[in-house]
């Protein structure tokens, strides 16, 4: 009897803790949309999403976030171009080629990479990458390229970790079958095992995209934060996250609303990415 009471009590407790996290998500969503939607209505959806001029303190003010949307896409795409090949091959190496002795060092180091605070990455970018790009590639160093390289490094642990476990999860019979058909070790891994882990690898890339698009501190320290659209990767640009964090401290009234609405746009982006992630995950299981 007493055992049953205890069991029911604990079950209730766990239910409550689960509810707290759900409540947090619901509250954040509600806050964002309640505060953001009126601002979008006041500015006008088209002017807000399609406007190329962001000058909230001018008279009259303009609130166009298209440069920031483009900026976020540029930098995320750049991070994927830099991070995915390195991360993917590192994962393949760690799962299938790495001697045990090296693996024992490599794994904790990759995990350490994930644990470094983003402000430290930002400081590294500002004092090492920015001068490097300025001296060797031109421009002033605060550029889309610099931010992409830095973010590429930052998403490595996500991609390596998930891809590695996806590759390890592939049934050993794929590898053995390939060997039995006369394939070399390299060939068996590249042509049989890795393609079989495709959906897990894709999921890791999607999660990397999520990390890249949401990153803030490191990016604003190296991206230059210009509110105009450019096609030169040696010039700076501002991301959605950077826009919010740079101006939130001063913003009032409609400016504040516009920043929260920027958060709504970012939120929708992240929702789409998470949706992609769960679709990929489901396909993997099914």
């Amino acid at each position: 009897m007493r055992k049953k009471i205890l069991e029911n009590g604990m079950r209730g407790l766990f239910a409550v803790t689960a509810c707290v996290s759900i409540l947090a998500v619901v509250l954040i969503c509600a806050f964002m949309f309640i505060n953001g939607i009126p601002a979008i209505q006041e500015i006008g959806l088209f002017d807000f999403l399609g406007g190329t001029k962001w000058a909230p303190n001018n008279t009259p003010p303009s609130y166009g976030i298209l440069p920031m949307i483009v900026g976020s896409l540029y930098i995320t795409a750049g991070a994927i171009i830099v991070g995915v090949p390195i991360g993917l091959f590192a994962a393949i190496f760690m799962a299938r080629f790495c001697p045990k002795r090296i693996y024992r060092f490599l794994k904790p180091l990759v995990e350490l990479l994930a644990g470094i605070p983003s402000i430290v990455y930002g400081f590294f970018g500002m004092t090492v990458l920015v001068p490097f790009v300025r001296e060797h590639l031109g421009g002033n160093g605060n550029s889309i390229l610099t931010a992409s390289v830095l973010l590429g490094i930052m998403i490595l642990p996500t991609i390596i970790g998930l891809s590695e476990s996806a590759i390890r999860a592939v049934d050993e019979s794929y590898y053995e079958g390939a060997l039995a058909l006369g394939a070399t070790h390299e060939r068996a891994v590249m042509k049989a095992v890795v393609p079989a882990a495709k959906s897990g690898i894709l999921a890791s890339i999607v999660l990397g995209i999520g990390r890249a698009i949401g990153e803030t501190m490191a990016v604003i320290m190296v991206a230059g934060n210009n509110t105009r659209i450019t096609t030169d990767i040696l010039k700076g640009i501002r991301t959605l996250t950077g826009n919010i964090v740079m101006e939130m401290g001063y913003a009032t009234d409609l400016h504040r609303g516009a920043l929260i609405a920027t958060g709504v746009v970012l939120f929708v982006f992240i929702l789409i990415i998470n949706l992609c992630f769960s679709v990929l995950n489901n396909r993997k299981k099914g």
Binding site: N57, N58, V130, P131, M221, N225, R228, G236, M246, E247
Partner: protein, 309 residues
């Protein structure tokens, strides 16, 4: 097994630390080289002509984020803002703290930026503006152009809490807070504060640039005189003055000198001065910039150091 791993990791950390140290010394030696070559540059420049033009190439303009008090003051005082439109060069680098401006300028030979005088340090070079060095003395004397007074104003003679609070602001303690916040105190020889302990509530409002320092002053004053409450309303200088004129505010705040129409109705008291230093890299040979040149640089009309006269 774990022990070996732990020892190995510790070794890695030690190696990294050593690498960091050697890097550091390497950096310092290269920076020494830089500064010596800069010295050579400047000496050769001065020997060949009076020209301060640099061969540093394209100017990297470092500005602050929209809404920053320093940026608002800077663009107003240099004319970068015209007719309510901020014309800051759109290819400038925008950073969101004074420290980042200092880091960016100290690491980039072609950079130019601006910081509040209180935050200036020797990692960068402050450029004289129109021949005047940006020092606290010159700002206080009114010779340095890119500076502005922080004013408070009352309608008629202040009484009760308002009078006591104004005494506090101008006292030794109040002026010390002004200095701590990075502004320049108007009275270095102020006497210690003695509160008359009046009770009541007053409303102070106006300039958002004066706001932060006023908030600190109000906090410190309310800690001394617990019977008083100060409400702070931050808007802008003009609404602060209008509020003081029509009586909705007991004390108005402005980050500019009072206009004639305002002095007719109000008594203005200067509580602090804010100076903004224009900074360049230590390797930059530029000796002097006019306000007009600064405006051209920050609006992107001049983009190369060779065009700077």
């Amino acid at each position: 097994m774990k022990k070996i791993l732990a020892i190995a990791l510790a070794l890695v950390v030690v190696c990294a630390a050593f690498a960091g140290c050697s890097n550091g010394s390497g950096n310092s030696s290269t920076s020494a080289n830089n500064s010596s070559s800069a010295a050579q540059n400047s000496s050769s420049n001065s020997s060949s002509s009076e020209n301060t033009a640099n061969d540093l190439g394209e100017i990297t303009v470092i500005s602050r984020e929209d809404g920053s008090g320093t940026r608002t003051a800077f663009i107003e005082l240099t004319g970068v803002e015209a007719d309510g439109t901020d014309q800051t060069y759109e290819d400038a680098v925008f950073v969101n703290s004074t420290d980042q401006v200092l880091t960016q300028v100290s690491e980039n030979e072609a950079a130019i930026g601006y910081v509040s005088l209180g935050s200036l340090n020797d990692t960068v070079k402050a450029v004289p503006v129109d021949g005047v060095e940006p020092t606290a003395e010159n700002v206080k004397a009114g010779d340095y152009k890119i500076s502005r007074p922080f004013m408070i104003a009352t309608k008629g003679e202040a009484t009760g809490v308002a009078a006591d609070f104004i005494n506090f602001i101008l006292s030794q303690e109040g002026q010390a807070i002004v200095n701590e916040e990075g502004y320049i105190a108007v009275d270095d020889a102020a006497t210690a504060f003695e509160s008359a302990m009046p009770e009541g509530t007053i409303t102070v409002g106006g300039s958002s640039s004066v706001g932060p320092v006023m908030e600190k002053l109000a906090e410190a004053y309310m800690a001394v005189n617990t019977g008083a409450t100060i409400e702070l309303q931050v808007t802008d200088s003009s609404s602060g003055m209008n509020g003081a004129i029509d009586g909705t505010l007991d004390i108005g705040m402005a980050s500019r000198a009072l206009k004639d129409s305002e002095t007719a109705e109000l008594t203005g008291i200067q509580i602090a001065v804010d100076g903004i230093a224009v900074i360049v890299n230590n390797a930059n040979a530029v000796e002097d910039l006019s306000v007009e040149t600064i405006r051209q640089i920050f609006t992107g009309e001049v983009t190369d150091w060779s065009e700077v006269q």
